[in-house]
């Protein structure tokens, strides 16, 4: 038992080093060292979110509540970036890294983990920085309950990571995944709760929209942000069950990939 735990600990530290190295490599290959370098990691999502915020503010988008549009756009669009970028980066992640798979200690899951961590980190830094910036310039009130925001954010991140790994592993099997992901991710945007409050929907539609896991996460984030100002609807256990199921699926698919990968 003890020796076994020690073994797991050693392996974990090795895996940690591998993932960290892959992460660094990923940053360098993606952003390079010219101009602002790895800062693009979160400047990119920040530009995105700011653009959307400005657009929505100008159009006074119909979001079905009297909430300040800036806070609404920030919470909504950041969440979308969080769960949408991870699958986008995980799909086809193995191929460019095949050469690395020669090493015994570089596994498919490490590559996925590195990319997932990178995306989650970028989205999170962008969200936090933008929140602080907007609060500083007075566009935004500080969140009502930071812990709830963090909880919802973590749930969305977990969901995105599991989804990303699942799709990444599946994309090794067939080209279709990549082809289908783009339309699906675009179609999922209006359904993801980024652009509306569930409470503003007709009750009949509410029931169905809550079957979309991201919606629950976004609602938790909004509850943390707005506190008593809004009536949110979410089913935490449903989201948890979705995440657990997807995680199981992801890990088993990665296992399949591990068997199938043959370094060139």
């Amino acid at each position: 038992m003890r020796s076994h735990l020690a073994e797991v600990g050693r392996s974990a530290s090795v895996q940690g080093r591998v993932v960290y190295a892959l992460l660094m490599r990923e940053i360098l290959t993606r952003y390079g060292r010219h101009n602002i370098g790895f800062l693009w990691l979160f400047v990119e999502p920040m530009l995105f979110t700011t653009g959307v915020t400005v657009l929505w503010t100008l159009t006074q988008a119909l979001h079905g509540s009297s909430l300040p549009i800036v806070a609404f756009a920030l919470t909504g669009y950041s969440s979308v970036l969080l769960w949408r970028n991870m699958p986008a980066r995980c799909i086809g992640a193995i191929d460019p890294n095949l050469a690395l798979m020669y090493h015994r200690n570089v596994r498919a899951i490490d590559i996925f983990l590195a990319r997932v961590l990178l995306e989650a980190g970028g989205a999170t830094i962008s969200f936090v920085t933008l929140s602080l910036f907007y609060i500083y310039i007075g566009w935004l009130d500080p969140p009502a309950d930071i812990l709830t925001v963090a909880g919802g954010w973590l749930m969305i991140a977990w969901f995105g990571a599991a989804l990303g790994m699942t799709l990444g592993a599946l994309s090794e099997k067939s080209e279709m995944v990549e082809r289908l992901w783009h339309p699906i991710s675009y179609l999922a945007f209006p359904l993801s709760g980024a652009a509306f409050m569930v409470d503003a929907l007709p009750p009949a539609a509410r029931k169905y929209i809550l079957y979309v896991p991201m919606v629950n996460g976004v609602e938790i984030v909004r509850q943390g942000y707005f506190g008593e100002q809004v009536r949110v609807h979410y089913d935490f256990f449903y989201m948890l069950a979705c995440c657990v199921g997807l995680t199981w699926l992801a890990l088993s698919q990665i296992e399949v990939v591990n068997r199938g990968v043959t370094p060139e």
Binding site: H4, A12, Q15, L62, P202, P203, V244, L251, I254, E255
Partner: protein, 361 residues
């Protein structure tokens, strides 16, 4: 296999064992009493932009009274009312309630806020936005308690709505009543001013009086003309007639009388036309005040009708029932979900560990 065993033990066997223990032995039966009511109010709720959009989908929100009733039921006030003589605490801390379900099991958290937290978990109030029917459920450990609390809460909700009603009604009527009182005072003042002027100036209605006098003057003038004609005739045909003197005096008298009468109607400072201006103003004021009073009276009547019509009231659809069977805890379901979650956790963790173990120094 030997290596997975402890993990399986921790993630599956222990939680399922605990779940069986809790759901099988410890968990107290929970009885749920349900009641449904609707708050009827004839006034239409204002719809926002999105509300209009969603109207077509059969989505409309109810009046404010529903929300008032709901937020009252879930308030600390309602809890305090229920907890008269510690009735609520007693019901949820009885010796037959298991240590895991009761309020304040450790004895360290007996504050009002703790009780309120606990209370919020026992009472649920939901509104179906399409039909505006509010469903209220109360969980308790005996069926009688559940029904009693539900009944009490329902009565309190009714009282809340009634309170709002009476306030609204009184406001409406009180406002109209002050209007009427003001108008009454004004009208009385105007009437008094008019009659005192009549006394002081000695006129009743200058217009009518002037008419009478002008009629009189015209009569006198007729007579004067007749007299003068007669006089001319007499002077022409019988200049020596003693009648001439008489008629002459009469004509002079008539002319003087006419001047006098005309002077009374207009011209002199005591004449009717100089008084008519002031009289007319007072008279108009009095009439105006009367009209105002009449309209204020009408609006008071309307307010009364409105208040009678604007009655929002709680209409019970389903009386609180006396549950004869505990609906919770759903024992098998609880055990099963623990098992499934445990298995999933075990699968995930073991896969993660297996993945880790492929990394070696």
């Amino acid at each position: 296999m030997r290596r997975i065993k402890p993990l399986f033990f921790v993630t599956v066997i222990v939680p399922v064992f605990l779940a069986i223990l809790y759901y099988g032995v410890f968990a107290s039966n929970v009885y749920i009493s349900e009641s449904r009511f609707i708050v009827r109010s004839p006034d239409k709720p204002a719809t926002t932009g999105l509300g209009v959009l969603l109207k077509s989908t059969g989505f409309a929100n109810a009046g404010d009274e529903i929300y008032a009733a709901q937020s009252y039921v879930l308030s600390r006030d309602a809890l305090q009312a229920l907890n008269g003589k510690d009735a609520f605490v007693k019901a949820y801390t009885g010796p037959d309630v298991s240590i895991f379900d009761r309020f304040n099991p450790t004895g360290f958290s007996s504050s009002g806020e703790d009780l309120y937290d606990y209370y919020e978990k026992q009472v649920k109030i939901d509104q179906d936005t399409t039909s505006s029917i509010v469903t209220m459920t109360v969980r308790a450990f005996t069926p009688q308690d559940a029904r009693r609390f539900n009944e009490q809460l329902l009565e309190m909700a009714e009282a809340t709505v009634n309170k709002l009603n009476t306030r609204g009604k009184q406001d409406l009527i009180r406002f109209a009543q002050t209007e009427v009182d003001d108008a009454k005072a004004k009208s009385q003042d105007a009437a008094v001013a008019l009659s005192s002027y009549r006394n002081q100036a000695g006129v009743v209605d200058p217009e009518k009086q002037a008419q009478i006098q002008i009629q009189m003057v015209s009569k006198l003038q007729d007579e004067l003309i007749a007299t003068r004609t007669q006089l001319r005739q007499l002077r022409a045909f019988t200049p020596q007639n003693p009648q001439i003197e008489v008629l002459d005096v009469r004509a002079k008298g008539l002319a003087a009388e006419i001047d006098d009468q005309l002077g009374q109607v207009a011209g002199s400072s005591k004449s009717l036309s100089s008084r008519v201006a002031r009289y007319q103003r007072l008279f108009l004021e009095s009439q105006f005040a009367d009209k105002q009073l009449a309209s204020a009276m009408a609006s008071l009547e309307e307010a009364r009708n409105e208040a009678r019509r604007k009655q929002a009231y709680v209409e019970r659809i389903v009386q609180p029932n006396l549950p004869d069977d505990p609906l919770e805890p759903r024992r098998l379901r609880g055990i099963l979900s623990t098992l499934i979650l445990g298995l999933a956790a075990w699968a995930i963790i073991s896969m993660l560990v297996a993945g880790m173990l492929e990394h070696r120094d």
